[in-house]
Symmetry: C2
Subunit: 197 residues, 2 copies
């Protein structure tokens, strides 16, 4: 059985891997703190960050195995939205997303026995028009505070999303179809990583 390391502490990524039937993996959160390079395209920026994370974890983990790293950014009008600094900032972000489309980009980096592979996946997300009451209520639930763009695509934030174009799991932080395709490219199909039972 291949040793599998997820270079992320994101509960959503952990949950998504488990739902794919991958249960025997270690979690070694990356300590890499690269910021998005605004000179790069969103896709190139997240690919770069996710590979930096994978390499940083590889340098500490040692040994053979598969490292899975990912980095997700929210872009509005070409500029990255980080996590809100406080409730007023969260409200301002939600107002800026209301009734509009924005881009969620996830970089995926895999390292398997020295071979590196990275990819980026983009999803367009359309918000419905939010009222000030919607925004105040949502911020009061606390859900936006630790999330890039001030919303979560699962949980309560779901009711703001009119629709998407692209991979939904990408918005959650891990593009599952792309992960399966990339593993196949590395000669380790997902099915070979799934635990029995």
């Amino acid at each position: 059985m291949t040793r599998i390391i997820l270079a992320s502490r994101s509960p959503r990524r952990v949950q998504l891997l488990r739902e794919l039937g991958i249960r025997d993996f270690e979690i070694i959160p990356s300590q890499s703190e690269e910021e998005p390079d605004t000179a790069l395209s969103p896709e190139a920026a997240v690919e770069h960050i996710s590979m930096a994370k994978a390499r940083e974890v590889l340098s500490r983990a040692g040994g053979e195995g598969l490292i899975i790293a990912a980095d997700t950014l929210v872009y509005l009008d070409g500029r990255p939205l980080g996590k809100p600094s406080d409730e007023e900032d969260a409200k301002a972000m939600l107002r800026s997303l209301s009734g509009r489309e924005h881009l969620v980009v996830t970089g995926l980096a895999l390292i398997l026995d020295g071979r590196e592979l990275s990819a980026a996946e983009s999803t367009l997300v359309r918000f419905r028009e939010l009222s000030e009451e919607d925004i105040s209520w949502y911020v009061s639930t606390g859900e936006p505070m630790d999330k890039a763009g001030a919303y979560g695509a699962q949980g309560l934030g779901a009711i703001f999303i009119k629709g998407i174009t692209g991979d939904f799991f990408n918005v959650m932080g891990l593009p599952l179809c792309r992960l399966a395709e990339s593993l196949e490219e590395l000669g380790t199909p997902l099915t070979s990583l799934v635990s029995e039972g």
Copy 2:
């Protein structure tokens, strides 16, 4: 507090309502067994079926409150795909979806104190090309057997979905944004149904 009845036994719908913070609801699965009327559009067909479910449950539940019913169908080339009858049928369905787009349509019906409201939401789902190995493996997991179109958008089926256009939760069986908008139209915003704590 409004009495809330979900007219469905679908674990995904139960889970989605809970994730919205709605915890105090009864589950009374509909006994209505209407088949999709192929003379109608997919949207009109599922709206009709979901309202029939809501009315059937209302007739047994009695009293006041909010009834939430939904019906989800998978359409390929304009024809509904049901649940597979056996493993060979599941394989044939998956082959027919491979590398193509299909439509997932959910009808949503609400009845609140005698007032009826129904809607339909459509989502395009794009499958990647599936190999015979992908299909055999997926069918051997058992996941396709109780699902319309022979796949689940969460769980292992996720790795087949290249992307969607529309509401992801609609594919899971309950269009959450539409539900929130419909509740608002009925004068009972979702926030008024959310349990404290």
